[in-house]
Amino acid sequence: MDTDSIPNENIQSNERFDVYLVGNKHNRIFAVDRNRCKGCKICTSICPYNAIFMGKVKSHRGFIYPIENGKCTACKQCVYICPDFALSIHDAADITEEAK
Amino acid sequence: MSENKLVEEPRVLAGPQFNSGNFAVAEAALFAGLHGYFGYPITPSTTIMERLASRLPYVEKPGAFLQAEDEIASITAVIGCSWTRNKAMTATSGPGFSLMQEGIGLATFTETPLVVVNVMRGGPSTGLPTFPAQQELMQAHFGSHGDYMVPTFAPNNVQECFDLTIEAFNASEALRTPVFVLTDQILSTLKERFLIPKKENIELVNRSSPDNPHITWKGETISSNLVLPMNCFGEESKAFATGLSHDDTGHVDLSADTYELLMNRLKEKILTYQHLFPKPEKYLIDDADTVVVAYGSTARSAKYAVNSARKKGIKAGLYRLRTIWPFPKDDIIQSLRGKRIIVVEMSSGQLIWPVERYLKQDVEHIGYLRGSVPPPSLIRKKIEGVN
């Protein structure tokens, strides 16, 4: 089975972002800005770990957008090349809070 | 550089002078605090450039001088220099003024204060480079594409070359707009006595800023709703501007509402403060039956003709425009409607257009195209009705 195309279960979304918890300790997050992504697929071709694939659902702006499959190591290559400023990698600690 | 004999003492000159119109323009610019001059040599404006080349980098507060690769680069560099919160100008003539139209459109739309001195010569094309004409009156208003209005002042003697250049800098700073000074080849070389006043006797205006949004000019507070405080490069708040339609922050906004508001504001800010621009000279017009309307060096000849007609008992007068755009329509209607009007200009018919349009009456015309001011005798004969 092609494990590359199984979405990461650690995902939270709002109307703009898809946020995945990634890394061995889930201490990084990979975020996709669906409002900015234009579906060019450059991120999927550049990713050294085959950690992203293009989904089939279109965003509200009419573009398909990338989905993370749990292999992301937060190396930031896709962030640097993304021409739409749609991808970002952050330390989870900066963006999250533990639920009580 | 002290060995360079062209370099005079590093002070703005003071007191009585005997020199040309172009000299007066250059000294006035220094007096007003010019920091950047970018130009391209073209007759008959070149002596302004030469004067500033030997002065601007060597005065007390040295400024930037550059002979650019063409007039398009000159005007665009002037806009760039102005956005560093510095006073900047260029001077040109005929073909150079045509090349600058693109930059002038950009400057009006991005509300950039700057001064362009156009020393008019005969056109079209290369035309009569060393002879005077007044053929850029309409170009000053309609030269660039799109709707806009640039305040346009026209001196007619060397003293006014000095005074109106300072007025031009003040207007440009107060209203965040380019301002034109239209002189002509005669004024550029004509030498007269003129007086450089004491610094404390002349008001100099500096543009508004986010810290100082309310500036005054001639005792009037300039509305910061009409003239937005200018953010400049390298300052605390972000400065951005574009030649595209934009909102108040300078960023692109192509919506209908924003564009309409912007266009209306740009027009409104000039028209609201037009009463602060130089007033027309009205010479013997109260009892006059016949009034000559003219501007620039043509008006010198017209005044002579009016005086000689008066000696013959003819009630003649002179209405000399010092601000051409915006056209002083209310004043001209009030002062001249119903009188016999003769428009005199060194053009086959440009000044006559607004005069006819606003007075809504027949207007006689002398359009003199012989590369010199129309001789007084010609104007006097027209006043007398002798052909």
């Binding site: 946020v19 697929k41 | 950047g36 665009t76 760039g80 956005w83 950009l106």
Partner: protein, 275 residues
Amino acid sequence: MVTIKFDLLGHNNEVDLTSRMLPHIWCSGCSLGTNVQSFIRGAISAGLNLDREVVMVSGIGCTGRASGYIEADGFHTTHGRAIAFATGVKLGNPNLEVVVFSGDGDLFAIGGNHFIHAARRKEDLTVICTNNSTYGLTGGQASPTTFENTYTPTTIEKNDKPFDLVNLALGAGAAFVARYTSAHYKILPRIIKEALQTKGMAFIDLISGCPAIYGKKNGYPTGEIMVQNFLESSVDIVPDDEGTYLLPENTAVHFDQGKGYTKIPVGIFRRGEKK
């Protein structure tokens, strides 16, 4: 379970982007966004405060809009006049770091005169040319760097020989000349840092793509293929003492209709004095 604070999310360089202007107007797969990001990272690595010390000047067309997306002082000038405007800014306030970020059509067709003269005058500008060999915004017409035998709506039968921007800049007197592609996002910040710190005019020929129009007709129909094409056809120059790497036959970019780029010599062709 953790809760994401969505309002803290944004791009890693969000502070240096004008967020409210995004998403940008550029097409899917266009190199411009990558170039803007590489520039921002380069400026940060050069220790510049984008907000206060940098002025972004851009010309017209797709690339012209770049200045509006970067949170620095900026000006979007008319067609071709970016360098002329930047000249005025630099002379008006020499303390500012003035960057011209514009396209091949703007800088080398309508603004070609300004470029060669600014290089000749050794003006202290950093000129980054997003060279996509076409006029993108007006619909893919030929530019001065459009390759021979490629299709554009205005050159149906044949195209003339393109400018080799590297040799043009070397000849005009630029102090620093480099060429990379937008796919060199790893090394570009370092190159841009060096360009920003060079005295005199620094010029970067940043080979970029327009997959939506020019690429579609001529060999790289998507951004994905374009990036692979850049990486596969890039050849690092090998500087030698004789200077053979500077000969026109060794600096020219090659392109085949239908295949895309076949050879892109990349590297630093001239290094200048540091500020």
